[in-house]
């Protein structure tokens, strides 16, 4: 019996440790597993009238509670710090991938390297919190991910380029049309004083709002509604990013852009950004656009 008990403890701790190496989400599963296992054991003890496993003089119930408290505390302590480390490691990997992509395309977006402030901001935002549970493990891969409602979270490299192109300063006011998961808003919120975001799909707006509140982004305001007219109350904006599909650039948004401000619009499908459109308003209010390819590619070869 003692042997069996020891084995159980070893297996349980081993299991918890393995989960600790995995992820926080998995830890919850591990705890659920432990709870279920304990319940099953309890039932089987009752059914076969077997003697208690360890004779400590304590009542069964109390003994179980202590056992539970120990396990949960141990596992949670391990997992929280371990998860944080793990995701931090993954985030650093993601930043390396972005830097590598920048080196390839630097000339094309008129940048020699990524703005370190943008990379630092992306290094702080827990991207895994913005994707569905089952995709948390791949959240830091340099790829777009589906987030439900037919929406996606953009590829980190594209997020970096778009944020970089906006050229924001710390006291800026920025508007986003198309909140989606809220990831882009969180990245910008790390960089600017006031971040406003409008989402047309109500469940997404609610979800993103809750998420950003939970993560402590106090400088982000999210509104459910039609982004065409911008957010007059907080206009003008130093920068605007339009991630929602639009057949044309809404004139009210151009009007709400400060002189010297920039607007960035990714053009393409939900998963693949084909080009970036940048709207630039000069200090005298004249508006021009720039079309940028987020990749190093020259359509002509040889002699041209």
């Amino acid at each position: 019996m003692r042997l069996r008990r020891s084995c159980q403890v070893i297996v349980t701790l081993g299991f918890a440790y393995w989960r600790y190496l995995s992820s926080k989400r998995h830890c919850f599963l591990a705890l659920r597993y432990l709870r279920d296992a304990a319940a099953t054991r309890h039932q089987s003890d009752d059914a076969t009238k077997m003697p208690p496993l360890i004779r400590t003089g304590l009542h069964d119930g109390r003994r179980r509670r202590i056992r539970w408290i120990c396990l949960v505390t141990l596992t949670a302590a391990f997992s929280t710090s371990a998860d944080a480390d793990r995701y931090q490691r993954l985030r650093l990997g993601m930043l390396d991938a972005i830097r590598a992509d920048y080196q390839e395309t630097a000339v094309y977006i008129d940048k020699n390297q990524a703005d370190p402030r943008v990379l630092a901001a992306m290094g702080r935002v827990p991207r895994h919190q913005f994707v569905p549970d089952k995709l948390q493990d791949v959240a830091y891969e340099n790829r777009p991910l589906p987030i439900g409602h037919g929406q996606t979270i953009s590829q980190p490299y594209i997020v970096a380029v778009m944020t970089d192109l906006l050229g924001v300063q710390s006291d800026d006011r920025v508007l986003e049309v198309g909140t989606g998961s809220g990831y882009q808003a969180a990245v910008l919120a790390e960089l600017v004083a006031h971040m406003y975001s409008i989402e047309i799909v109500e469940p997404l707006a609610i979800q993103a709002n809750k998420r950003l509140q939970r993560l402590g982004y106090a400088n982000v305001a999210i509104r459910h509604g039609d982004g065409y007219y911008g957010w007059e109350q907080h206009a003008p904006f130093d920068a605007i990013i339009v991630t929602a599909a639009a057949s044309h650039i809404p004139p009210p948004l151009i009007a709400q852009l400060k002189p010297g401000g920039r607007m960035v619009i990714p053009v393409g499908t939900r998963f693949l950004v084909q080009e970036l459109l940048m709207v630039v308003k000069d200090s005298d209010g004249a508006v021009t656009t720039r079309q940028l390819l987020p990749v190093r590619f020259v359509p002509l070869t040889g002699g041209h």
């Binding site: 037919g150 044309h248 021009t288």
Partner: protein, 822 residues
């Protein structure tokens, strides 16, 4: 139930007609369904590979032929029954598998899902092919008759599916087909004189009822990334009407809370908002809008803020022809510019119905206003037949930006943007009139440049020595408009052009006398690509430029009508190296899907063809001692399978140029090919009885080669004379022209099969499978050949394939011993 080969039972010919018709109709229907659920090119890939079910059947029967033939009637009936059930069941399961092609780049599980879809959709074809092959084996003395009925059934199927998809929505069509197949079980019970035929028939009809009820509960699971799904996420939107036809599934969407404001290509300087709109989606994508008209002209001022408004600022056309009027935006644009006479052409009658019926008041009776004349017709055919001359011909943006920029149209033939088409348009311009074509702007530039190159070629072919004096090109950030003038462009027009462009922040890309300092001001590109390309395309270095450009922007011709094909293999490695770094959109995915389909089809075919051979060896059958050469059997049936579809596809393209309408042209040609091939097959029955298969096959092949070669030369000039005839006469001429060719084409397969039946009957399923695999490869290969070399080469290859088949007709070796059946 053990039925000997000489049983007096007659072949179940009516059942064969029904199931083979249903199979072809099902194939077309699946194409329709998956075009709605996914995108056209993936539908093409999925359905092409699902047809490998025919090849699978051959392989399967080779293994179990003997067992199944001992109980032919139940085997035949069960396969039909399974075909019926799987038409609905497999589709239902397949559409639930969420497959997203764009994710496949990062997520390998997408490929597994794709594979599961292939397998599921191959099952119905596998079952029907089993039933057909079992009848061919069982009634081998009448192989030609059975095959003839199979072909005629397929022909009727191809005709009836056009009718069905016009009158019913796709899911009810699925219900209908499933029911027909189940009912054909009852027919088979009678035809095969089953003892318990009443019970079997009653059960089959009951099954049909259950199936119909099940399909009635089904819904389409459309990809969440398609335009319709995306728009429906917005609160207050709903689909209020839908129409179905072979041209597409139209969904009419109203948005109560958030206006649609569809105005692609609008100038960044525009401050006006479009009036309320209703959206019409084709196949859940490709949105066009019907705009509310309350009689206020100013409400349409936004239409003057687009690149396509340019011609109205250069002169005042008295008669405008709009090709592809869609929801009517271009008609409104012409009305805004007070054009006295507008002729509009729209291909889809249901779209016109929607505008004239449900939204008549909403659109202020736009299509029936004074001075507006709407025709339901294919655009190029309409212009070809037209006796009028126009001050302006507007070729509207008919495709959606998303699909176009993702390269999804690469496989679509388009006869609107070829050199010959542009020549036709130019000949219908008044002196001083314009042809205006608006295209999406893509980065790196592709279709605008291809169009420019095509225009230069067309002008040169029309004998204009000064194409540079007749062309204008402007661009916004989203659209470009190219103008070809019937005459040299004047200085006043150039002044008007500059004013128009500057007022709207559009960039000049070409006008006669343009200077580099004038370009790339408003929508700044890294380099002035459009201006640079226009200079090159009009200069002496054109061919070097076309060669060096990383996309295929050579002019398109009727023989290679793939305007949307831009892919060059040369750049493939470069783009693949960039694929994870935002480079994927540079790939023209449509073309690669085609190549991937071919590779998969070839691999699957090799497996399906080789497996039975291994089995034959295991059965201790010495392959070298077969009474016929396996190599000959393989090549004969493979070449005949390839050749048949090569000719069919090659000539359908020719008949499109006569009949113009894409649906009618394809269905008339396809049905004629199949029905007359059936007639040809039926005739071979007599030859079969008299022996001399080889000689008959060689005569048939000679006939095919002579007629095909003659047609290659004759059809072009002949059609030029016939193009003005009424549609019914043109259909009649087409049918008569196809008849002799198809008649000969129906002979080689049954002759070969009959020869095989008498010499080595156990190889019949194998030959059937080889032919099935060849058909799948053939359809894909023919398109690839056409993209690269043109349809003339496809037909030439077909003739060569047939000749090689004639040479390799499987002769009987008289010295060999009898082989054991497998």
């Amino acid at each position: 139930m053990n039925e000997g080969p000489h049983s007096t039972v007659r072949p179940p010919l009516l059942t064969i007609v029904l199931i083979s018709g249903a199979a072809l109709a099902y194939e077309v229907l699946l194409m329709r369904l998956f075009s709605i659920l996914q995108w056209h090119h993936f539908a093409y890939m999925i359905i092409s590979l699902a047809l490998l079910g025919y090849g699978m059947s051959g392989t399967f029967l080779c293994f179990v032929q003997k067992r199944l033939m001992q109980r032919f009637t139940p085997s035949f009936m069960i396969n039909i029954l399974l075909f019926g059930v799987s038409t609905a069941a497999c589709f239902q399961v397949a559409q639930q598998i969420s497959f997203n092609a764009e994710e496949a780049l990062w997520d390998p599980s997408q490929l597994l899902r794709l594979f599961a879809i292939y397998v599921l959709l191959a099952l119905p074809f596998f079952f029907v092919a089993n039933a057909l092959a079992l009848s061919l084996i069982r009634f081998r003395e009448q192989v030609s008759r059975v095959y003839a009925y199979d072909l005629v059934g397929a022909g009727l199927g191809s005709l009836s599916i056009v009718f069905l998809t016009f009158v019913l929505h796709p899911l009810p069509v699925l219900m209908f087909l499933g029911t027909v197949v189940m009912a054909s079980v009852a027919v088979a019970a009678w035809e095969l004189s089953m003892d318990a035929r009443v019970k079997v028939a009653a059960s089959a009809l009951l099954g049909a009822l259950v199936l119909a009820l099940a399909v009635n509960q089904m819904d389409l699971t459309i990809s969440p990334y398609k335009g319709l799904s995306q728009t429906l996420r917005v609160a207050g939107t709903k689909v209020v009407d839908s129409r179905s036809s072979p041209l597409g599934y139209l969904s009419v969407l109203e948005s109560e809370q958030v206006p649609l404001r569809h105005a692609p290509g609008l100038s960044i300087k525009a401050a006006v908002e479009p009036p309320p709109q209703v959206a019409v989606f084709t196949d859940a994508d490709n949105m066009t809008v019907i705009t509310a008209d309350r009689g206020e002209r100013d409400a349409f001022a936004y239409l003057d803020e687009m690149t396509s408004a340019l011609p109205y600022h250069l002169n005042s056309p008295g008669h405008v022809l709009i090709l592809g009027s869609g929801g009517g935006a271009d008609i409104q644009q012409a009305r805004f510019h007070r054009v006295p006479r507008i002729t509009a052409v729209e291909l889809n009658p249901q779209l016109v119905d929607i505008m004239r019926d449900r939204y008549r008041d909403f659109a202020n009776n736009l299509l029936d206003q004074d001075g507006v004349d709407v025709h339901i017709s294919e655009a190029r055919g309409f212009v070809t037949r037209s006796r009028d001359r126009y001050g302006l011909i507007q070729l509207a943006l008919l495709d959606s930006f998303a699909a176009s920029s993702a390269g999804l149209y690469a496989l679509n033939e388009s006869y609107l943007y070829t050199v010959e088409a542009l020549q036709v348009y130019l000949r219908h311009l008044e002196p001083g009139g314009y042809l205006a074509i608006t295209r999406w702007i893509k980065l790196p530039p592709r279709d605008t440049l291809k169009l420019f190159a095509t225009a230069v070629e067309a002008l040169q072919r029309e004998g204009r020595a000064d194409p540079d004096r007749r062309l204008l090109l402007i661009r916004g950030w989203q659209t470009s408009t190219m103008l070809i003038k019937n005459g040299p462009i004047s200085d006043q027009e150039i002044i008007a052009l500059k004013t128009f462009a500057a007022d709207r922040a559009f960039d000049l890309a070409w006008y006669p006398g343009i200077a580099e300092a004038e370009v790339n001001h408003y929508n700044v590109l890294r380099q002035p690509y459009y201006y640079g390309a226009a200079m090159e395309l009009l200069g002496s270095q054109r061919s070097a430029f076309l060669n060096n450009y990383k996309y295929d922007i050579r002019p398109t011709f009727d023989d290679r009508p793939y305007f949307f094909h831009f892919f060059k293999w040369r750049v493939f490695p470069e783009i693949m190296a960039l694929r994870g770094r935002g480079g994927m959109p540079l790939l023209e995915i449509g073309y690669l899907v085609l190549v991937a389909t071919l590779i998969k089809a070839v691999i699957a075919s090799v497996v399906l063809i080789v497996l039975p051979l291994i089995y034959l060896r295991r059965q201790n059958t010495s392959i070298v001692h077969e009474r016929v050469s396996l190599a000959r059997v393989l090549w004969y049936f493979f070449a005949v399978g390839l050749g048949f579809l090569f000719i069919e596809i090659g000539f359908i393209q020719k008949f499109i140029l006569l009949l113009h309408h894409p649906v009618y042209a394809v269905s008339v040609s396809l049905t004629s090919f199949l029905v007359f091939a059936g007639a040809g097959s039926a005739v071979t029955q007599r030859v079969v009885s008299a022996g001399g298969h080889g000689r008959a096959a060689r005569y048939a092949i000679m006939g095919i080669a002579l007629i095909a070669i003659a047609y290659t030369w004759l059809l072009g000039p002949l059609f030029a004379h016939l193009v003005a005839l009424p549609m019914t006469l043109k259909v009649l001429v087409s049918v008569l022209l196809i008849a002799p060719l198809a008649y000969c084409m129906g002979m080689p397969f049954p002759l070969g099969l009959s020869q095989l039946s008498s010499a080595a009957s156990h190889l019949v399923p194998w030959a059937w499978g080889v032919n099935g695999c060849a058909s799948v490869i053939s359809a894909v290969l023919a398109t690839l050949c056409a993209i690269h070399f043109g349809f003339a080469v496809v037909i030439t290859l077909a003739v060569l394939l047939y000749i090689s088949a004639g040479v390799s007709f499987p002769r009987v070796r008289h010295t060999a011993g009898a082989a054991k059946p497998c």
